[in-house]
């Protein structure tokens, strides 16, 4: 985690900041969701409190905190309180493993009569070598939160909602895991940062053993895995339990699914978990298929040189580079988050048998086909044909 006290504390603060970023994005996303749905349905949405209704977020937060604490009499108290906390964990731990920007190089400097340094700070909570497998493993634990909530509430709607939710999550985890195999075949690495660094510059690939470059397209994964990208996007919609896959909380049949008995801040924690998963899913999409934090055709070194040329020191230039690339990453993520909102208010809900059929009988075979085709193409293109 670090070698001296300064590095350790900065790394810890960074992790906390990324987690708080995730938590803070939730009210913002709720606002986008409400305004966006209003836009789509030709309404106004929340517009009274503050400019554009933005202070509605604050009002909502206060409202959540001042709701009455309610526990059903026959529920299992400990698990009832545990479930929302468990819902927070997987999204937070997974989101911290994804690189949000270029690492920051800090030169050695004098402070408080001590020489600190040189440091390299990663713009992510922690770099884990097996990135994808770690994120997959951690986010598969999210099913526990739903099951615990459903069972602890001692409510029929909650239990059925939880069972539906977990059955749906595990069904689509197959398509999700299988579409990632295609990505692995292309990049040959588990690590997110290596994947991102392979997507710099113009589109270039091996064509029957010869290096081919297309100068007007960026070197993004989407051009290697178009089918995989579509499958992954559909699978993460189901993983995050959002429309058109929100069967677990289909309000017409199940009231509110597994959080029927939850209210106030505990309900809000489930929302943080759900929106956190949306963030993780968008970040994964961007990292796999859209070049991560890189700006197309511009390498981080060029940005760094640009800032150094303007008279900034090496540390400052590195910091500014990281911030610019972080903005690029967030611009890409914002597109996907908007897609999540857009789809939710456009498509109708599936029926449960249609949902399972789609997962098992349509997406799984297509993901398999994607894997096989990718393997054949990679084998043909990269073998030496001399």
């Amino acid at each position: 985690m670090g070698t001296d006290i300064l590095e350790i504390s900065i790394n810890f603060a960074k992790m906390v900041a990324i987690f708080l970023l995730m938590v803070q994005l939730v009210p913002l996303l709720v606002w986008v969701e409400r305004r966006g749905s209003a836009l789509i349905q030709n309404r106004l949405g929340p517009n009274r409190v503050g400019p554009l209704g933005l202070t509605q977020l604050l009002a909502d937060a206060v409202k959540f905190l001042t709701k009455e604490e309610f526990v059903p009499a026959k529920s299992h108290r400990f698990l009832f309180y545990l479930a929302p906390i468990v819902a927070l964990l997987p999204a937070a731990v997974a989101f911290n493993a994804i690189p949000l920007s270029h690492p920051i190089e800090v030169e050695a400097f004098e402070w408080l009569g001590h020489t600190w340094g040189p440091y390299t700070f990663l713009f992510q909570g922690y770099e884990i070598g097996i990135g994808i497998v770690f994120v997959l493993g951690v986010s598969s634990l999210a099913a526990y939160a739903l099951l615990l909530a459903g069972w602890a509430s001692d409510n029929k709607y909650s239990l059925i909602g939880a069972l539906r939710a977990s059955a749906q999550m595990i069904s689509y985890e197959l398509a999700l895991g299988l579409s990632i195999v295609g990505i692995l075949l292309v990049f040959n690495t588990f690590s997110f940062s290596e994947m991102v660094s392979q997507q710099v510059g113009p589109l270039s690939f091996m064509f029957f053993g010869q290096e081919v470059s297309i100068p007007f397209l960026p070197n993004w994964g989407i051009f290697f895995q178009p089918l995989g990208a579509i499958l992954l996007l559909a699978a993460v919609f189901a993983e995050t339990n959002r429309l058109p896959f929100d069967l677990p909380e289909a309000e017409a049949e199940l009231v509110a699914g597994y959080h029927t008995e939850y209210g106030g801040i505990k309900m809000n924690m489930f929302y943080i978990g759900e929106y956190g998963h949306m963030l993780v899913a968008s970040a994964l999409m961007v990292t796999f298929y859209f070049g991560g934090y890189h700006i197309p055709f511009i390498t981080p070194d060029q940005i760094n040189e640009f800032f150094s040329g303007r008279g900034h020191g090496a540390t400052q230039a590195s910091l500014l580079t990281a911030l610019v690339l972080h903005l690029s990453f967030f611009a890409k993520i914002a597109v996907f988050l908007w897609v999540f909102v857009w789809v939710r208010w456009t498509l109708p809900r599936f029926r449960y048998d249609q949902l399972m059929d789609l997962g098992w009988k349509t997406m799984l075979p297509w993901a398999l086909a994607n894997t096989i085709i990718t393997a054949i193409l990679v084998l043909m293109m990269r073998s030496s044909w001399s």
Binding site: G137, Y144, L147, S166, I170
Partner: protein, 180 residues
């Protein structure tokens, strides 16, 4: 104490605690949840041992799939009659005494072994073990797909057979998916 020792004792204590709870808690759902926690802490220990991929698989398959299945199945059952965790009777009593005494023997043997030199590898070799280059996931893949290829294909076959068997079991007369 070093960081790695603290981590190890922390994770080991958590593993043993959750493992103990798994077999002593009366409600089977709590057993399953405790076992899931055991799996997660074990994944942490695998992580400490540089078996990163195995740790990830432990999380994704054991904690994220197998234990979810256990919890789901237990939630489907009516467990109100399951208040007593342990059965009574002559045979059960013998098993209980036997099980606990066997466990006692294991505990005593490990404690004695850790004080004697039976278990301890000689220190030069242990130090050499630290200096060795740890295998990566790529090495795992190379060994798996060259030397153990046949075993790997057979596992694929085993999984197919199990999938067919599970469907067959659920289809037997009076089974859960019987076609009436």
């Amino acid at each position: 104490m070093e960081m790695s020792s603290i981590l190890f004792y922390l994770l080991a204590a958590a593993t043993l605690f959750f493992g103990f709870r798994t077999i002593t808690v009366a409600n089977p759902i709590f057993s399953a949840l405790n076992l899931a926690l055991t799996m997660i802490t074990l994944a942490g220990i695998f992580f400490m041992l540089d078996a990163y991929f195995i740790a990830g698989v432990q999380l994704a398959v054991y904690a994220g799939a197998v234990m979810v299945l256990f919890v789901m199945v237990l939630m489907l059952f009516d467990l109100s009659g399951e208040a007593r965790a342990f059965s009574r009777g002559m045979m059960s009593g013998i098993l209980k005494v036997g099980g606990v005494s066997l466990f006692g023997i294991i505990v005593i043997a490990t404690i004695m072994g850790s004080f004697s030199n039976i278990l301890v590898i000689d220190s030069g070799e242990a130090a050499a073990g630290q200096a060795l280059v740890q295998p990566t996931t790529r090495d795992l893949a190379v060994v798996l797909f060259s030397r153990y290829l046949l075993a790997f294909e057979l596992l694929g076959l085993l999984l197919l057979v199990v999938a067919v068997g599970v469907v067959a079991v659920s289809r037997i007369k009076g089974g859960t998916h019987a076609r009436d």
